[in-house]
């Protein structure tokens, strides 16, 4: 399989590009930010995502979806990144669906139709501290009656306060750090003893701190098998990581493009600033880094979709490289804009903020770089 988009994927890219530009552009983002929307995204746009078929990309055909792969999800996410489109696509239709694909028919029947129709939103309750450490999950789920009782805290639950259901990772046996003994739960938003406290983030998304004070769930809410949640969590994390890497390729690419345009427009010393070699070389280096990041992300997506052995390695590479490259893009972008780069009026600063949040999502560049070392035995 050649390492570029095939014809169907290119068509999807065209339609995602047009759609985001028309319906989910930066001005749409600004509108929702400025009215201080409690969700941070438009439910109307989420419905439109569904009409476009985007929400069913990773849902299997048996479950009524399109049964496509991470490459296709990435194609849509890249356009989301370029336009800073606010939506629950990454948490719900990518990471959430990856977890639900391990659920039994009943649980799937409860949530997938709503995702396919653009009515349902999911939140991911994984992190418990300020850094992503999924191997240190301490939250507990004790057996209680026919079900379980969840106790602990989660944070950085994006769309947590708008979500119809939270996917919660908790320990059902063993102790913190053990590979086995985790279980994933689908916890409905109206569960008792659950305190959801939304906070706005630097990129205007709304994330929640969630306190579980003996939240009772029944046994049917277990996603996959009890104590075997590691596999489900792995699928969720993989999808979320490659997805956020794809989105960052869009964020970095978008930031680079508006910066290069600005270099052609802005004149100082009687010439466009883009004619100064000091800036040309930095822009060219940035181009090179963004191209490489894009290739790494596509490679990881293809390997995942093919079920290849080294897919896991490449997902870490992709998230680390995309973080580094997009981060360079936004930093160079603001600098090369000069004073206006600091203003709210220009878009470049918005890209910088989104990049910051995405790099932190499900592990930053350091986290994934460290994994690359671990996987190679050093």
């Amino acid at each position: 399989m050649p390492l570029f988009l095939d014809d169907d994927q290119s068509m999807l890219q065209d339609s995602a590009r047009e759609f985001m530009k028309a319906e989910g552009s930066v001005s749409h983002f600004r509108e929702f930010r400025d009215k201080n929307c409690k969700d941070g995204f438009s439910h109307g746009l989420w419905k439109q995502f569904a009409e476009m078929g985007f929400t069913g990309i990773l849902v299997s055909e048996d479950d009524g979806g399109l049964g496509l792969g991470h490459v296709e999800a990435g194609v849509v996410l890249e356009q989301i990144g370029r336009n800073l489109t606010p939506s629950p696509f990454l948490t719900t239709a990518v990471a959430g669906v990856a977890a639900l694909s391990h659920a039994d028919a009943e649980l799937k029947g409860q949530y997938l139709p709503g995702i396919l129709s653009g009515d349902t939103v999911l939140g991911l309750a994984i992190d418990e501290k300020s850094k992503h450490r999924p191997d240190q999950i301490a939250m507990t789920a004790e057996r209680s009656g026919n079900g379980f009782k969840l106790t602990g805290r989660k944070q950085f639950v994006i769309h947590g306060a708008s979500a119809d259901m939270l996917i919660v990772a908790a320990r059902t046996s063993g102790s913190t750090g053990d590979a086995d003994g985790l279980t994933l739960f689908a916890v409905p938003k109206d569960a008792a003893n659950m305190d959801v406290n939304p906070v706005r983030l630097v990129d205007s998304a709304v994330a929640a701190h969630v306190k579980f004070d003996g939240v009772e769930v029944n046994a049917d809410s277990v996603i996959g098998e009890v104590d075997q949640g590691g596999e489900v969590l792995g699928a969720l994390l993989t999808a979320g990581r490659i997805g956020s890497a794809s989105e960052m390729v869009g964020v970095g690419g978008g930031a680079m493009d508006i910066t290069v345009d600005y270099l052609k427009e802005r004149k100082q010393f009687g010439s466009p600033i883009g004619s100064f070699q000091a800036l040309q070389h930095r822009a060219a280096h940035l181009y090179s880094e963004m191209e490489i990041a894009g290739a790494a992300v596509l490679k990881a997506g293809q390997l995942l979709d093919a079920g290849a052995d080294n897919a896991a390695l490449y997902v870490h590479v992709a998230k680390a490289k995309a973080s580094k490259a997009a981060n360079l893009a936004v930093r160079e972008g603001v600098q090369m804009h000069g004073g206006v780069g600091m203003t709210d009026e220009y878009d470049i600063g918005l890209y910088m903020k989104r990049d910051r949040a995405l790099s932190e999502f499900l592990g930053d560049a350091n986290y994934h770089t460290n994994k690359v070392a671990e996987l190679h035995g050093y």
Binding site: Q280, A283, I292, A295, A373, Y378
Partner: protein
């Protein structure tokens, strides 16, 4: 089984049967490579046999057409062929500027006669080529070159050029049989005054003088032309349009040099350094800062490997930007330089040994120094960045 799977099986079994075991050991350096040519001395019978077997099947240039000595493989087949070679650890049967640089230019600009004549010889490893581009006053600003070819009409001996001038940094000029050379044929027009000539290094008036490098070896020369007669049919492309050929060839040269970014193909530099540095109780390299540098390098190297694959696939499908080889060269050579900085760092004082047996004649420091040329030869990194900013980002001229 699909056609491609069938193909893969056939290639695999051919390689298993025909690639001698000695040719499946990693190449240790230039001295292990087969360069071909009139004066080449094979290091082993196996090396000779491997070249002959591959040449007979067109496998030295698998994607060239059969009539020019290739195997006529499609892009997908070529990719499979190279992967199977890599899986079995087969050495490249032939390393050659003819294959990497001149061949592609001849395929695009050569006459049918030239293609049949030169390409078949290149494919069989019969002629070793060198590149006469740079001059003492014309490095990055190559188009300012001064070596001059005067047209002489000669009804008896045949029309020809008389070439005078000097080239420099001509890699392997003292070992090469022929040169592809940029020669000014019109002093009035800078760009449209250069012609692309081919001639035998044994032609009277050609002389070479080796230059010693910081790595200790002398792979390149000053090359002098003193009234060198070059017959009229040894021009590639049109008269005074050699710059087009030169640029096209540079694209292939840059692509080839960028391949250094892939290293020896092993998946992790960090993993290779565990022997030298050792692991601590937690199973981590016993130098936290170096570990993190190596891990970041591995991320960059694996990402670059994906880029190299994507670039090749896009190029074969005609989807890549024509200036993309410049980006590949920039990124690949900077990466390779960094790789060797890390190897030196991890090697400590062992890596300083220049001549000992343990250091295999100072392999590490010599390679480290040689890689510094990667971002100079074939166009410097700064020139690559200039080209990217002008041709890809379309930034305005200064």
């Amino acid at each position: 089984m699909s056609d491609l799977e069938q193909f893969k099986t056939e290639i695999r079994s051919w390689l298993e049967e025909n690639c001698p075991p000695e040719m499946r050991k990693p190449v240790r350096g230039d001295e292990d490579m087969c360069w071909g040519g009139r004066n080449f001395e094979f290091q082993s019978e196996a090396q000779k046999l491997w070249l002959e077997r591959c040449a007979a099947k067109g496998y030295t240039v698998p994607d060239w057409p059969k009539e020019y000595g290739g195997a006529g493989m499609s892009p997908a087949e070529t990719k499979i062929f190279r992967r199977e070679m890599a899986k079995l650890g087969c050495r490249s049967p032939l390393s050659s500027f003819g294959i990497w640089m001149l061949g592609p230019a001849l395929l695009k600009f050569g006459t049918e006669e030239q293609k049949v004549h030169y390409l078949n010889q290149i494919a069989r490893g019969e002629i070793r080529w060198c590149q006469g581009y740079s001059e003492p006053g014309s490095g990055s600003d190559l188009v300012s070159l001064q070596t001059f070819g005067e047209e002489v009409s000669d009804p008896v001996g045949g029309d020809h050029w008389v070439v005078n001038g000097q080239k420099v940094w001509t890699s392997y000029a003292d070992k090469a049989d022929w040169i592809f050379c940029l020669v000014r044929t019109d002093k009035e027009d800078k760009y449209r005054g250069i012609s692309f000539l081919l001639f035998d290094m044994e032609t009277p008036g050609v002389s070479t003088k080796p230059i010693k490098l910081i790595s200790g070896s002398s792979p390149f020369c000053e090359t002098f032309f003193d009234d060198v007669k070059v017959p009229k049919d040894q021009i590639v492309g049109e008269l005074n349009r050699g710059w087009d050929v030169a640029k096209y060839l540079l694209g292939h040269e840059r692509e080839m040099i960028s391949g250094g970014g892939l290293g020896d193909g092993s998946p992790s530099l960090g993993a290779k350094m565990t022997g030298a540095i050792g692991l601590n109780g937690l199973g981590m390299l016993d130098d936290q800062i170096l570990r993190s540098e190596l891990a970041q390098f591995d991320v960059d190297a694996l990402a670059f490997r994906a880029m190299a694959e994507k670039f090749m696939d896009e190029m074969k499908a005609g989807k890549s930007h024509p200036a993309q080889p410049n980006m590949m060269k920039y990124a690949g050579t900077e990466l390779n330089k960094q790789r060797h900085e890390l190897v030196m760092s991890a090697g400590g004082s062992d890596a300083l040994e220049w001549e000992s047996e343990a250091s295999r004649g100072g392999k590490k420091p010599r390679e480290w120094l040689r890689t510094k040329a990667n971002s100079i030869e074939g166009g410097t990194s700064e020139i690559m960045l200039n080209v990217i900013s002008k041709r890809i980002l379309e930034l305005p001229d200064g």
